[in-house]
Symmetry: C2
Subunit: 132 residues, 2 copies
């Protein structure tokens, strides 16, 4: 059972709270995911980051397929209680596309340009199927 | 009129996309807000960060009351196109509570503890009324 800290988290009508994942050492923002109560509870107790996948409709642990787990360093809550920040140690890279961060595109002169290099080959890691 | 880059942003059913704001120099995550098309378009063209306030139901420019504006350094989009990261130069501090970042509370031994100091007096800046 979760402690009273869970009551201070304001989940949306869909039962989810957005969770920003940041690499602790570099300060790099890696991804934005969504957590339901169970995912947040597991993240707080298991030392790995869990999300609720809105597209697949299931709980998942980041890295369960790829091995690219996120080890929890710190969990923070914002002033309104409706957003979470998790500082992590990232194994290899966060993005299923092979980039370190999911935010690898930047707006330059009216286009989204790929600004960051690939750090792994996604086909090798994920094959043709799952991501995560 | 927005360029075709806007078409690659996947706004939710509510017409909004979550936008993480990060201080460029320090790498600190300052806040999470929501943007509609107009807010994102203004952020891209005006050099200041704009949001759609879900609670007030209106467009706002961060700093319009407090003067604590966020100057846009870079706008990034994630792999799925459904989250935005804005790196900024933050005037004074981001949080209406007087903290540098809205994520000033951390989970420690089952409680949210205030981990960061106040950097300004919110009553002095906002008075009794507005925030922003």
């Amino acid at each position: 059972m979760a402690g009273s800290w869970m009551e201070e988290v304001r989940f949306g009508k869909d039962g989810l709270v957005p969770a920003i994942v940041q690499e602790g050492a570099s300060g790099r923002v890696l991804m934005l995911g969504y957590m339901n109560r169970e995912a947040l509870e597991l993240t707080a107790t298991k030392g790995r980051v869990y999300f609720w996948s809105r597209s697949r409709g299931e709980l998942w642990c980041k890295g369960e397929t790829s091995g690219h787990v996120q080890r929890v360093m710190e969990i923070r809550l914002d002033c309104d209680g409706d957003a979470v920040l998790v500082r992590v140690e990232q194994e290899v890279a966060a993005c299923h596309t092979g980039h370190q961060s999911c935010f690898f595109r930047g707006l330059e002169q009216g286009s989204w340009l790929e600004l960051d290099p690939l750090v792994f080959d996604p086909e090798e890691v994920y094959g043709q199927g799952e991501t995560g």
